[in-house]
Amino acid sequence: MADIAEIEGLIRTALPGSEVSVEDMAGGDHLYAHVRAPQFTGLPLIEQHRLVNGAVDHLLGPGRPIHALKIKTEATQ
């Protein structure tokens, strides 16, 4: 079971100035993160997703609180 507020906080800390909303899609461990951040500007989607994944890397994967993290990113000014 993942702590949604903790995950939102980790992403916000990794991407200062971002707007982050995380929701549970199923079972408390399949999460959806919507992240709007200025750091995404000019980056390919893969690098945008790496920035988000990197913030919660230690919580992600088999046997950890987040089983799957679906990510939607948007670049802001």
Binding site: P44, L45, I46, H49, R50, L60, G61, K70, I71, K72
Partner: protein, 108 residues
Amino acid sequence: MIITEDEIRQEVLNSIAQNRVMLFMKGTPEMPRCGFSMQTVACLKDTGAEFAAMDILPDPRIRQLLSEHSGWPTIPQLFVDGQLVGGCDIVTELHETGQLKELVNAAA
């Protein structure tokens, strides 16, 4: 026949280098073995572009060595011109915006 880790790594790297559009997936394009791989194949087929695919399921070392190379943990993984484009979410988003077609059909 014993296949070494080095041989698998070489096969993975060669397939990325030799195929402009290279998909690592679970199962085959004709018979995907996972919903995410199936959806990614459907997006690619819709672009009309030719692509090569490798099934990662026959040997767990394929996935391990692929992820070491790409720094990306999940399957599928789509490479274009040797660069990791993304997995199912990213490919789907690029498909919806029309960018996937541009990407796979662009001259190398």
